[in-house]
């Protein structure tokens, strides 16, 4: 990425530990290390995807960025519209608000995220109203404009959400997220509840909006096929940590972390002529309240050595543009998935 302008978002050494309390005194007996030393940045107009198995900390990372939960440690620097870099992690509530406007969220479930008693117009205009922007007339004009942007007929303005399909509701959610002209959109599994044919429409819409409006996306998804279509760069998480981060083409074609290799290998390819021997990962994801010593992935890693059981690998440059947290990154020849 170009170094000319600072990144829109720059997350450094982010940690989020949830206390585990037991007994009548609710004493803290341990911590769920949901996010444990995560560092990444997102440039203007760029999409970074967070991928990894359930419970690896993707949602918690995005919730920290939006300050829906208070980070335990680390900084989250956001580039505001007037060119200042503010650390969202430490901002008092009152100062948070104008910054929070510039980062918006698209939710997974288009059904539960829209208030059934509000009209489409009221739903989309709500962020404007809450922030005291424009009068009634100006807000209605903006709603009409936003409906155009997400390719929904303006005539839908006065209808209620129940009359819409899943894909249409997701468009309404996107229109609402765009109302305040955000620079960053955090999308947590935005298409996983949608049918394939509708998923394609929403993915295309997100790509188009990015081009037109220069949006940056933090895209959380478990579907690596979707991730391949939407991302500039991909970060793979395992038990609260980023184990590999690289640009999309590179990480898919030439993964450098054994966990990335296994994840890619497990993805079914929609072509019966390409049935391949899959790497079937043994065992289960480690428990974030009881992370294995050394490399957290070592109990499941086919390449683990004694060193892996003792020493925690740091995320470092493994050449070819990949940042990798693996002791053996330089020597291993791992298998990716070829592009067509």
């Amino acid at each position: 990425m170009s170094t000319a302008s600072p990144p829109v978002l720059s997350v450094e050494r982010l940690r989020k530990y949830f206390p585990i309390r037991r007994g009548v005194l609710r004493r803290v007996v341990g911590h769920v290390k949901a996010v444990d030393d995560v560092t990444f940045s997102i440039a203007r107009g760029e999409t970074l995807s967070l991928v990894g198995e359930s419970g690896c900390g993707k949602t918690t990372t995005s919730r920290c960025i939006l300050r829906a939960v208070q980070p335990t440690e680390g900084s989250i620097r956001f580039l505001t519209g007037d060119g200042r870099q503010v650390d969202v992690a430490g901002l008092p509530r009152a100062e948070l608000r104008p910054v929070r406007r510039q980062m918006q969220m698209i939710f997974q479930d288009p059904y539960s995220s829209l208030n059934p008693r509000m009209t489409i117009s009221d739903i989309i205009a709500e962020p404007l109203l809450v922030n005291g922007i424009g009068d009634l007339d100006a807000r209605r004009r903006r709603v009409a404009e936003l409906l155009d942007v997400v390719q929904l007929p303006r005539a839908y303005m006065n209808r209620f959400p129940h009359a819409f399909s899943g894909g249409q509701r997701q468009r309404i959610g996107i229109a609402r997220a765009l109302a305040l002209n955000p620079a960053l959109i955090v999308a947590d599994e935005p298409v996983s509840a949608l049918d394939v044919s509708v998923q394609a429409q929403i993915i295309n819409l997100m790509l188009e909006l990015q081009e037109r409006l220069g949006l940056s996306y933090l895209f959380v998804a478990h579907d690596l096929s979707v991730v391949k279509h939407v991302s500039h760069r991909v970060a793979v998480m395992y038990v609260g940590r980023i184990v590999e981060i690289a640009d999309t083409a590179t990480i898919f074609a030439r993964p450098r972390h054994p966990y990335t290799e296994a994840l890619l290998s497990a993805v079914p390819v929609p072509d019966p002529r390409k049935r391949a021997k899959r790497i079937v990962l043994e065992g289960e994801v480690a428990d974030p309240s009881n992370v294995p010593a050394g490399c957290a992935f070592h109990p499941r890693c086919a390449y683990a050595t004694e060193r892996c059981r003792q020493e925690k690998p740091e995320l470092r440059d493994a050449g070819g543009g990949n940042l990798v947290a693996c002791h053996r990154a330089a020597e291993l020849e791992l298998r990716g998935v070829a592009a067509q």
């Binding site: 359930s54 044919s197 690596l224 083409a249 390819v269 019966p272 289960e284």
Partner: protein, 337 residues
């Protein structure tokens, strides 16, 4: 090829509600063969689960199998039409869980929270076979081992909520195999799971199929899983099977416009980064607003006005094992099929 073990013909299952009739399954036909996997694929609400429930005769009210036949070839060579059996008859109960095992979409609601997984397995074993309690327990442990559950001697006494999603789905598969069925119906067995766990479960189904010459019906909305697992495929749209064929033909020479559009619109790990996807215009109609004629016509790129919106196309045989339901191949007739 051997004779089919299960033949579904013209199956129709409707739900009669206050707002009208939902034609959940509206003409499904396909064959299932021993040792083979039939994939049933289609988008949400197209009738995959209701098809499975119709075969097992567990459609919940107000739904009812209205027409068609489900011919099961039994172990002794005789054939029985499951549609003609009383759903709660003894014979149907023997088929359900006995000759046809099944795994459903939500493992959490299918497993009891009040009984250990061992007790649930033992009950399933003893329902279809007379064995002592001790023998049933040994058999339960053996089943857990077969589905790859570590330390089965200990796990047999645990409860489903103590297990991860992946282990729970393995228990579900063990349960479905307790009576040594010859057919397994698996309805979205991996949808709620991570890809890594999905790969484990698919591998498990493949291994057991090979060991037992099991006929498998695999229901999924995931074209990748179909490509990976199926020998033959039935594609459904709004209650109708619109195309059936060998997996290679479905992916490399699909005939029905819906199959073609669906395949073009799926994201693939093999695609170029940031490439647009082909889309199908519009969305799936509401079940009460089913379009007249061919149900796909409002979205079809090959729509022929006056033909596709007036009559319903029938299934046309394009090759011995490849059929499509579309006027591009079927001449319109006076009476609609």
């Amino acid at each position: 090829m051997a004779d089919p073990i299960l033949s579904v013909r013209g199956l129709e299952t409707f739900f009669h509600g206050d707002e009208g009739i939902v034609r959940a399954v509206d003409g499904a036909s396909f064959d299932l063969f021993p040792g083979r996997t039939l994939g049933i694929v289609g988008e949400s609400g197209c009738g995959k689960s209701v098809t499975a429930r119709s075969i097992l005769r567990i459609v919940e009210r107000p739904g009812r199998v209205e027409n068609g036949s489900v011919l099961l070839r039994r172990a002794d060579g005789s054939t029985v039409d499951l549609v003609k059996l009383d759903a709660s008859s003894r014979e149907m109960r023997e088929v359900r869980g006995g000759e046809i095992g099944y795994v459903f979409q939500e493992p959490m609601s299918s497993l009891s929270a009040y009984h250990t997984i061992g007790n649930q397995l033992m009950e399933a074993i003893r329902l279809h076979r007379t064995v002592t309690k001790a023998e049933a327990r040994d058999r339960a442990i053996e089943l857990l081992r077969m589905v790859g559950i570590p330390r089965p001697e200990q796990r047999v006494d645990s409860y489903s909520f103590e297990l991860s999603g992946g282990l729970r789905q393995r228990v579900m598969i063990a349960l479905s195999l307790a009576a040594e069925p010859r057919i397994l119906i698996a309805d979205e067995p991996t949808t709620a799971l991570d890809v890594t766990t999905q790969a484990q479960i698919l591998e498990l189904i493949r291994r057991i199929q090979e060991e037992r010459n099991l006929a498998v019906v695999l229901i999924t909305h995931d074209m990748g899983v179909i490509a990976e697992m199926a020998d033959a495929v039935a594609v459904m749209y709004l209650g109708k099977v619109v195309e059936t064929g060998p997996v290679d033909a479905i992916f490399h020479a699909p005939k029905h416009p819906y199959t073609q559009s669906l395949l073009r619109s799926i994201p693939s790990v093999l695609a170029q980064p940031l490439s647009r996807l082909a889309t199908i215009t519009g969305s799936i109609p509401h079940p009460f607003a089913r379009p007249a004629g061919c149900p796909f016509h409002p979205r079809c790129p090959s729509f022929m006005p006056g033909t596709c919106d007036t009559g319903a196309p029938g299934l046309t045989r394009l090759a011995p094992d490849h059929e499509a339901r579309c006027f591009l191949y079927d001449q319109p007739r006076e009476t609609s099929a």
